[in-house]
C-alpha cells in the first residue's frame, strides 16, 4: 500500500492583523501545517498502523515549507519531497493541482491512495484535491469523515453530506479529501523527531519533474486577483462601552425584542 499525503504550510491566520493603513501585517506570523492536512496525515498513519503502508508527504511551496514536511516525518511519515520553484509561486488551485499531478506521475506513479485535507485554512477553496484527482483521471471522494476499510482495489469511506452521512466505495487509485475530526492527531515521538532531523527531503523544480512552467505561477493560472480590499461593515452601527453585565443584559433583551418586531 503506497500512500501520498498532500501537506500545505499556511500562515496562522489568527496571527494576521490589519495595520492602520489598511494593509495586512504578516510580520511575525507563524507558519503552521494546515489543520485538515494534519488529519490527512493522521488518517494515513492509521492505515499504516493497521495494515502497513509506505507514506510519502508532498508539498508545494517556498523552501521554508520543508519544516512542515519534517514535522509530518516526525509523526511517522516515511518520506517527503518539496516542489519549489519561483515559477510555481502565485499559482491558483488549478495550476497547483497540475504541478502536484505531474510531480506524482514523475516521482511516485505507483501510489494507491492520495490523501488531502478537505480545505486549507488560508484560501479555503477546497479545490486543489478534486482538481488533482481529475488531472490524474482517478476516483475522488471529498468531505471524508473516516475510512472504513481498504481491500484489494477499492476503498470504503464515510462521507459527510449536507444532512447525513453516506458510505461510499471508490476504485483505487483514489484521491480522498479529509475533514478535521474529533479524534486526536498523534504527537511526534522523540525517535520520530530524530528521524525527521536526519531525513533527506529532495526539492524538485519544474525542470526536475518535466513540468512546463508556462502552466504554473501567475501567468499559467486561469484565475487572478483583480483587487483585494478590507471587508466593509454596517455603516450606522454603534459600540457601547462601560455598561455593567446587568445593564448589558437588560439592553440586549430589550433590543432583541425590538428587532424581532
Amino acid at each position: 500500500m503506497k500512500i501520498i499525503v498532500c501537506v500545505k504550510q499556511v500562515p496562522d491566520t489568527a496571527d494576521i492583523k490589519w495595520t492602520e493603513n489598511n494593509t495586512l501585517n504578516r510580520d511575525g506570523v507563524e507558519s503552521v501545517i494546515n489543520p485538515c492536512d494534519l488529519f490527512a496525515t493522521e488518517t494515513a498513519l492509521r492505515i499504516k498502523d493497521r495494515q502497513g503502508a509506505d507514506i510519502t508527504a508532498i508539498s508545494m511551496g517556498p523552501k521554508q515549507a520543508e519544516s512542515a514536511l519534517r514535522e509530518v516525518i516526525s509523526m511517522g511519515v516515511d518520506e517527503a519531497c518539496l516542489l519549489s520553484d519561483r515559477y510555481f509561486a502565485a499559482s491558483d488551485t488549478a495550476a497547483t493541482a497540475r504541478v502536484l499531478a505531474k510531480a506524482i506521475q514523475e516521482k511516485r506513479s505507483d501510489f494507491d491512495l492520495i490523501i488531502c485535507g478537505q480545505y486549507a485554512s488560508d484560501g479555503d477553496t477546497a479545490q486543489t484535491g478534486p482538481s488533482l484527482a481529475q488531472n490524474l483521471g482517478i476516483s475522488l471522494v471529498t468531505n471524508v469523515k473516516s475510512i472504513e476499510k481498504i481491500e484489494n482495489d477499492k476503498i470504503i469511506v464515510f462521507k459527510q453530506e449536507e444532512d447525513f452521512v453516506s458510505r461510499i466505495e471508490a476504485k483505487l487509485p483514489a484521491v480522498i479529501c479529509i475533514l478535521t475530526g474529533k479524534y486526536l492527531v498523534r504527537m511526534p515521538k522523540i525517535s520520530g523527531r530524530m528521524k525527521a532531523q536526519d531525513a533527506k527531503i529532495p526539492i524538485y523544480t519544474a525542470e526536475d519533474i518535466n513540468f512546463d512552467a508556462a502552466y504554473s505561477g501567475l501567468k499559467g493560472s486561469p484565475t487572478y486577483v483583480k483587487k483585494a480590499f478590507r471587508p466593509k461593515g454596517r455603516s450606522d452601527g454603534e459600540i457601547l462601552y462601560d455598561n455593567s453585565a446587568v445593564q448589558s443584559a437588560e439592553l440586549l433583551l430589550d433590543k432583541i425584542k425590538e428587532f424581532k418586531g
Binding site: 491566520t13 489568527a14 490589519w18 495586512l24 489543520p35 491558483d92 488551485t93 488549478a94 493541482a97 485554512s121 488560508d122 479555503d124 477553496t125 479545490q127 478534486p130 482538481s131 481529475q134 476516483s139 475522488l140 470504503i156 464515510f158 462521507k159 459527510q160 453530506e161 449536507e162 444532512d163 447525513f164 452521512v165 453516506s166 458510505r167 461510499i168 466505495e169 471508490a170 476504485k171 486561469p222 484565475t223 487572478y224 486577483v225 483583480k226 483587487k227 483585494a228 480590499f229 471587508p231 461593515g233 454596517r234 452601527g237 454603534e238 459600540i239 457601547l240 455598561n243 453585565a245 446587568v246 448589558s248 443584559a249 440586549l252 433583551l253 433590543k255 432583541i256 428587532f259 424581532k260
Partner: protein, 331 residues
C-alpha cells in the same frame, strides 16, 4: 454576435427535490445578464426522473431561458465522475461564458472536476458576483477572512461556486418563456469510479433549525468552555431562539460542527443575530451578512465584529449571558 450564456448547474437532493441554491443562482444569473443584449440563462439538469414539469416551471419563474436535461438511468445515483463527464460534455457543446454551481457538498466536489476537465478557472464560495464587459467578477473572503478578493478568470467558461442563501430569490419573479432541450451524453458503467453503498441518517435536531430561525444566539472561542457555551441553549429556550457556533467554538470543542455558521458552515437569515465572544472574521461574517440585525458582545472593543454589528457591546459574554438568563427567569 455570439450569445452571452450563463449556465447554472441544477442540484437535486436525495429525495429528488431541487436545492434552493439552484433557484437562487438562476435568479442571480438572470439579474446579472439583464443589461446584456442577446444573453441566455441556462439551467443544466442531470438525473433520472419521470417528470420534469414542476422543475421547469420553477426555473421559468426565476428567469431561465433554457433548461437542458440529461436524463438517463445511469444518473439515478450520484457518482462524481459520471456527473463530471455529463456536465463537461454539455458545457463543451454549449460553450457558455459563465457557469455557476451551488457551493454545496456536491457542488464543491463537482465544480473543480468540471473546471479541470474544461481547463478553466474556478472561484469558490463567492459572496458577490458581477459581470463587467463580459468578465465575471467574483468576490470572496480569503486569508482567514481578513481580506476580500475580487477574482477574474482568463479562460472560458468563467466558473464560480456560491453558498446557499448568499443571494435570495426575488419575491416577485418575472416568468420567462423557457425552452426545454433534452440532451444525451455517452457514459459507461466503467466510468463509475465511486458508488454509494448506504445513506446513514444523522440525528437531526429539529428544534435547533438555523435556516428558519428568527433569533440566533451564537458563541465563539470567547465562550471559553463548553459549559459556558451550553448556557446559550437555555437562553434560546427562554426566548424562542436557536443556537449557532463559530468555527472557533467548534474547533475548540465547545459545539458540534452541525451548528457551525459561516463560510465553512451554514448561512443564516435571522431577524436578530447575537454573537457572544466571536471575533467576526469575514469567513464568519459571510454566513451572517444577510441577517437583519447583528448584535455582538465581546470583551475586545477592537474585535472586527464590533464594527460590523448594528450594536456592539463591550463586556464579558459569560456574565452577560448569566444575567440575561436570570432576568428572563425572574419575569
Amino acid at each position: 454576435m455570439d450569445k452571452f450564456k450563463v449556465t447554472v448547474f441544477c442540484e437535486t437532493a436525495w429525495d429528488d427535490s431541487v436545492a434552493p441554491v439552484s433557484y437562487e443562482l438562476t435568479a442571480k444569473a438572470s439579474d446579472l445578464v439583464k443589461n446584456i443584449e442577446n444573453s441566455e440563462v441556462q439551467v443544466l439538469i442531470v438525473g433520472k426522473r419521470m417528470n420534469y414539469d414542476d422543475i421547469i416551471e420553477s426555473f421559468s419563474n426565476y428567469g431561465a431561458d433554457k433548461v437542458i436535461i440529461v436524463n438517463d438511468d445511469i444518473f439515478e445515483n450520484y457518482s462524481a465522475n459520471l456527473y463530471r463527464k455529463a456536465i463537461s460534455e454539455i458545457l463543451k457543446k454549449e460553450k457558455p461564458n459563465v457557469v455557476f454551481f451551488g457551493a454545496t457538498v456536491k457542488g464543491r466536489e463537482l465544480a473543480p472536476l468540471v473546471a479541470t476537465t474544461l481547463n478553466t478557472g474556478l472561484t469558490a464560495d463567492c459572496t458577490e458576483l458581477d459581470i463587467v464587459d463580459g468578465k465575471l467578477e467574483a468576490t470572496r473572503p480569503t486569508f482567514g477572512g481578513k481580506l476580500n478578493a475580487t477574482i477574474l478568470c482568463k479562460t472560458l467558461p468563467q466558473m464560480a461556486t456560491v453558498r446557499a442563501g448568499v443571494f435570495r430569490v426575488p419575491e416577485n419573479p418575472v416568468k420567462k418563456d423557457t425552452k426545454v432541450n433534452f440532451d444525451w451524453v455517452n457514459v459507461h458503467d466503467e466510468e463509475k469510479f465511486t458508488k454509494i453503498l448506504e445513506l446513514i441518517p444523522e440525528y437531526a435536531d429539529d428544534d435547533n433549525d438555523l435556516s428558519k430561525a428568527e433569533i440566533i444566539y451564537a458563541g465563539g472561542r470567547g465562550m471559553k468552555s463548553k459549559e459556558n457555551f451550553n448556557r446559550l441553549f437555555e437562553l434560546a429556550r427562554l426566548t424562542g431562539g436557536v443556537v449557532g457556533a463559530s468555527r472557533g467554538a467548534v474547533d475548540a470543542g465547545f459545539a458540534d460542527s452541525s451548528i457551525q455558521i459561516g463560510q465553512t458552515g451554514k448561512t443564516i437569515h435571522a431577524k436578530v443575530y447575537v454573537a457572544f465572544g466571536i471575533s467576526g472574521l469575514a469567513q464568519h461574517m459571510a454566513g451572517i451578512n444577510s441577517c437583519d440585525k447583528i448584535i455582538s458582545v465581546n470583551k475586545d472593543s477592537n474585535a472586527p465584529i464590533m464594527k460590523l454589528s448594528d450594536i456592539g457591546i463591550v463586556g464579558d459574554a459569560e456574565e452577560i449571558i448569566k444575567q440575561m438568563v436570570r432576568s428572563l427567569k425572574n419575569k
